[in-house]
Symmetry: D2
Subunit: 324 residues, 4 copies
């Protein structure tokens, strides 16, 4: 479902994932559907055709954000397993309203960072108690370059499109729901983004009931690649996941060290996570494992993203109910 940017990531991965076979590509744009289908050895079909085919066990929802929920609902109502790209929807109320229909679904949400081997290694060390009880967290998520202004209006804005990944990471790593949130945001990258009512640079502070603190650092344009880092501070030390660099080569001259850039964007940085995500979906679709990124996680992160916007606009800290 969807032969755009994310469909082009997940389609070819599905082909290579043991337990998955890509039968159909569905996209309203025939050219895009045809191209991806050819690349993946799949057929082009309509949504109805695909859902009516009893040989189809699951659906990858990679359509545009405003169609995620409708497509996911259609698939779940047809009894299919559903992989759905984030966010579930831009409208928190609509997403909450639909939640009961996913209660028994085999559903995996595309919070791919939870499947990244580096972040998983950090989580494993944290859970193993290498630094004692977690006290605070620093998440850095900087995009390499601002999206085209045309993307902004339908994107949901910085918080629902981008920060939502970090809000999910925060929940995953903190092991506790945030109860307070403050977000300061600016438009420093591209004034056009500001004119469209969005921001491009933000810092968000979360606090949990037990007092754990988390800061999320976001920008739409780093100028130096796709900066993806985590620092977890515990009672006895810190664990950090650093950036992935393009190669291990460095030049030393009298001017100092010159080394390779970091990964330029999500396709390079998160390739392994996308493969692991689909491998997990294959397990979930076959009933072999419970989902690690559930519908409820999508709701919780979306609620936090909404609070970010509210805080950034008002200049006030927001008290949260807890949602998950």
């Amino acid at each position: 479902m969807g032969a755009g940017r994310m469909g082009q990531v997940h389609g070819p991965n599905a082909v290579r994932t043991p337990g998955l076979r890509l039968k159909y590509v569905v996209d309203p744009r025939p050219g895009a559907a045809q191209a991806l289908a050819a690349r993946c050895g799949a057929a082009v079909a309509t949504l109805e055709q695909a859902l009516d085919d009893p040989a189809v066990g699951g659906v990858l929802v990679c359509s545009s954000t405003d169609r995620h929920l409708a497509h996911a609902l259609a698939a779940v109502d047809a009894g299919k397993a559903v992989f759905c790209e984030k966010p579930i929807d831009l409208d928190l109320d609509k997403a909450r309203e639909a939640q009961p229909r996913f209660r028994d679904a085999r559903f995996v949400l595309g919070f791919n960072r939870r499947y990244d081997p580096h972040f998983l290694a950090l989580k494993r060390r944290l859970d193993a108690g290498e630094v004692g009880a977690l006290e605070s967290l620093q998440l850095v998520n900087h995009d390499p370059a601002a999206p085209p202004p045309g993307f902004i209006p339908t994107s949901g804005g910085l918080f629902k499109d981008f920060t939502i990944h970090d809000l999910d990471m925060a929940r995953w790593l903190l092991g506790e729901e945030p109860t307070e949130l403050f977000c300061a945001a600016s438009c420093l990258v591209d004034p056009e983004i500001g004119r469209l009512g969005d921001v491009d640079t933000a810092r968000t502070v979360l606090r949990t009931a037990s007092g754990r603190l988390c800061v999320i650092s976001n920008t739409r344009r780093s100028g130096y690649g796709y900066d993806q880092r985590v620092e977890a501070f515990g009672a006895a030390g810190m664990i950090a996941a650093g950036n992935v660099v393009l190669d291990t080569v460095g030049t030393l001259t009298e001017d100092g060290l010159g080394a390779a850039p970091i990964a330029p964007g999500f396709p390079q940085r998160f390739a392994a996570s996308y493969r692991a995500l689909l491998a997990h979906f294959a397990e979930v679709a076959q009933g072999l494992a419970p989902s690690r990124t559930r519908y409820a996680d999508g709701i919780a992160a979306l609620a936090l993203a909404e609070a970010c916007g509210q805080s950034a606009r008002s200049g006030r800290a927001i008290r949260l109910q807890g949602d998950a």
Copy 2:
């Protein structure tokens, strides 16, 4: 003036600084005064004796925080150049009130981080435009281990004693006054600190008029040494100052890399900055250079520290007037 922790840093440095000679050590505790004087080849004197000596050109105020202002005033009134440890005072109003008396003084405030070679190298790269216009800032200042509870009541608390360094760094690097501040703080390290009305873990967000953002990360106990880092994000990249490690040795086994700890505390990490600070004081005292860390910088940082406390207690963002 003061033979305690900071006097024992600055006294011996003064001995080695070209242009300075340490003539007297003043401390109400005769034993402490005597010990430091012996170590530095100086004599013990009372404050009056020292200030009356026309051969004395300047005073290093290293007394306890609650005496800083009184001692600095006595020295400036006696026409001496003054080096004063931070903070100027715990009471912002008192410090503001005294400000006119320092108008013409040769006065250097002990914001030593501005003199650290690593942070100076970062500033130089930033000013050279290596990453374009500065957009945001991440400051990490984590103490290795919590102070004894007895230190808390007279310390001014986390913000005036500790965060004040970062607030000064933020002003120095941002090149613009913060206009908004939010601080979330917790007591996670030692419940005794909470019982004394203080906090030990905090995140502070600053926003300037032009929208620049800065996050300050503090804890009283890192568990892994004295974590002192800066990341400056510009329009075309980032500049980072990392930690200093104890040695360059690492062991590789099948379990991975084991490398040396970072500097355990301020004496190791900031030794060079303290020497540079006194060298600067020697210049200022001799009228050869204007002060790089002025009384007004102390006021501005203190006002921000007070706002941190206000924000942390109320859970609200604070609007700032600008002070410097």
Copy 3:
């Protein structure tokens, strides 16, 4: 040709390489052939069947070392393009004798390190003049753990089986043939290796006509993973290619930094190089590019490997004729 260790690397890669399709798997052991064929969607065939099939354009020679040359000759005589694992043969004279029959062949030798993205990045920087004229070279090639003793007798020994890669790298990077060689070797890892007449730890020094120097460091058992590094020293600096680590995560405690191990073996470390090698073979087989690792490169490296053995046994430096 060959469903053993290297066949299991190259077979699946061939399946994924644009321009290649794996039609047959040939191996005298029916079970091994069947298993790999099934994994790759290929059929099992005899050598004759495969070479007789006019639809077969090329052959991947991944058989045991003592069969490399015979299989490569059969394939080239049948007019097929040939990819051949190193070494061409253990007997330098036999390999030289056969050389004329490969004169017009589309032939790619499996010196995969030349295709590794990290080493290519180093070569690119070197060729771009980042450090001026190359003066000396340090190559580190340490296997993680000693092979089973049963492997030693047919392996060709440390130099022809293992060092041969570095000898090729040296020729590739030095851009000049070595004219002198000295090799000091010991048996420190496993006395059984010594009993079989081989060594497991060696240092080889090469010198070229213009005086460039190269050191090769080898061990059969590093104890810390697959250490693969290059340092190239030029007139104006150095370029180094470091190890690939398993993840970017590190833990800081009062004991220091604990970070991830390096890649444990060639499958992890050189996966990308094996893919690039087959992509290059596809080009060469289709006549789109000249081979970057030719038969003559195999002869030259083999001659150097033989000189290593001679030097190590005699304790003398060896003068070389130049062979390529």
Copy 4:
């Protein structure tokens, strides 16, 4: 004794070393003697005056290489403790002949690398068994820039002036005497050095009786600073001591990482080792500790340096008797 390059290092250090006081500076050049004496609060004297003064307990021999032995002998005959810069002498036979006269001397040789905190940390880890039994060693010692040609004729050449440090390091770390040595050397940096009969680029391989291997990498001009590294390979891993960098600051842009240069020369890199060396001399002079770098160490390293030259000239490996 000697107010040249090394006198200017050790003189001021002596002033600051507890247990030492610098009474006289001796140098045939009155201007040099006067300048250093003034800087150190010492008096200028002749050798005789200094040795005749019963208040003088020890002598620092920092004169030109060809006077080391004569000055050390004069001092030891006068019953003084002796610190002597390396090499003891350029003539191995003369140095050996004088050896009995130092039998009971309190004598410390200036092999400063053994006192470097980084190399000591490596040695400590090695001795603690972090990587099991040592098997091989890689020593890198690259000077930043070629010395003026005028220095070459009296220097003893690359091996006795420069490699001698590494030969001592090798003996110290291997814990066993080398029994075989091969050295390949070239003149690549400055043809003038070649015209004077010296070389500027070399690789030396040592082998001990038990089969341990060591490679020493030397150049007179690195182009990127003072490269000083050690890698020790054991049965269960490796320990490496890396370079010291000037600051911890790095800039990330789309072109990659730009970080600070390594220490440019020995004054920056080995400052701590020179201080530790004099502190050790103070202990030895007062009879509180046995010397850690003895006359015999100087002889052994000198014999190896001579073998380097012999091997480089002849192109042959050299069998060694063992000397220490």
